[in-house]
Symmetry: C2
Subunit: 221 residues, 2 copies
DNA sequence: CCTAATTAGATACGATCGTATCCTAAGCTC
DNA sequence: GAGCTTAGGATACGATCGTATCTAATTAGG
């Protein structure tokens, strides 16, 4: 805000950092991620690029920092709607909203850099992608306690809803809508975890294949 | 190969194009995708960047063209091993090999650009990502005929193996190995399509949810 | 064959990136 | 408060990208 164009005051530390993040955020809103340039952010903050690079290594890191500052976006509570279906739908819907809030242009810009630039961006991974396995595990445990889900669901099955959600996100470059979300839940997830469903009590599973699963790969035993 | 450094002969049309693609390929092999520069390719081909840009709009397009020229990489036959499990595993393993052949550095470089740059790269989509729904549908139809799979499998379930495969690819920046592939098949896919499995004959499916599926969303009726 | 239409190849340009250098304002130490 | 240390701000640099311009080699047409 205060520009000090005359140039007497020189901001430092936290004040400067905040100004930079605000500038980055404003720039993100006004031109979007792809067109966001370090120069523009620096100008808007009334300083120069070097100052930015002293704090963040590159554009995505700056943008992520700005997002952290300006979006609630946190994990939030684990939904507890009373039914397994309701809980899972709630998780996916919330994620969908979170992404919408960030804006797909930014989401895909960041994901793109994540994929391109080697391991540099564990950050993006955790910030933008992490709908944790813990959430699904918790929900499934509750459901099992209610008798809604069979015990011993493999981890891969437990994370199916979030994995498929993410797949849609990547594959079609567009956050999954309500219909897709319901398909994922009703056609894939629920049938697999239903009490009368396969693979739990050695019922169906006609393919010994990879042998038994290690215990730590199963949830809610 | 022939450099014509003396500069009497000036290549044109197809000959020049081939030389450029060979140069791009060689460069890709020697420095990788991230470090591949248009200048280097032009130099290697004994010409200048402008000539490249006259044929391809940007780096990814050039690289994809080079890959097309230098890799068999085509869809290949639809596997027919005699069992559903064998067929699906074959599809996923083959895809894994294809990706390994391209090299993950290149794969992720291209995918990254695909995600970042708006709709420009429908190309990448089809070249690198498309393990079609047709393949899975065919395999499932054969399996159903053998009595190995229930009829009326929803499309979303049919494409589950390839979708999950792709998800792993994106999520962990590394092509799924044998163990993951088998998990996908044995823990998720087969239980869902088994003859005694849910949702086919109105058996389990305790959640009316989104109502009945449209017919065109089901395979092998 | 000679002329006319192409288009290869060289070069230069402006935009960005991320880095390096230098100067000096802010703030800390005594 | 004088001096020392830290770090902000300006500027320049080299690498690339993708574009534009110009010339001269090749090919095609008459």
């Amino acid at each position: 805000m205060a520009q000090h164009t005359g140039g007497q005051t020189r901001r430092r530390g936290a004040a400067l950092e905040a100004a930079l993040l605000d500038a980055a955020w404003a720039e993100l809103q006004s031109v979007g991620y792809a067109a966001l340039t370090m120069e523009a952010v620096a100008d808007r903050a009334g300083t120069s690029r070097a100052v930015i690079y002293r704090r963040w290594r590159n554009r995505p890191e700056l943008v992520i920092a700005a997002m952290r500052r300006h979006l609630p976006m946190l994990s939030g509570e684990i939904p507890d709607t009373g039914s397994l279906r309701g809980d899972v739908l709630a998780v996916l819907r919330r994620e969908s909203q979170r992404l919408a809030q960030v804006g797909s242009e930014t989401v895909y810009g960041l994901l793109g850099e994540y994929l391109s630039n080697a391991g540099t961006f564990g950050r993006v991974q955790d910030e933008v992608l992490h709908i944790g396995a813990e959430v699904m595990t918790t929900i499934l445990n509750r459901a099992a306690a209610r008798g809604e889900a069979r015990p011993g669901v493999p981890l891969r099955v437990a994370t199916l809803p979030t994995d498929l959600f993410r797949h849609e996100l990547f594959r079609y470059r567009t956050p999954p809508g309500e219909q897709v979300i319901e398909e994922i839940v009703d056609e894939v997830f629920l049938p697999l975890v239903a009490v009368s469903a396969p693979a739990g009590g050695g019922d169906v599973r006609p393919y010994p294949g990879a042998g038994g699963l290690a215990d730590d790969q199963r949830v809610n035993r």
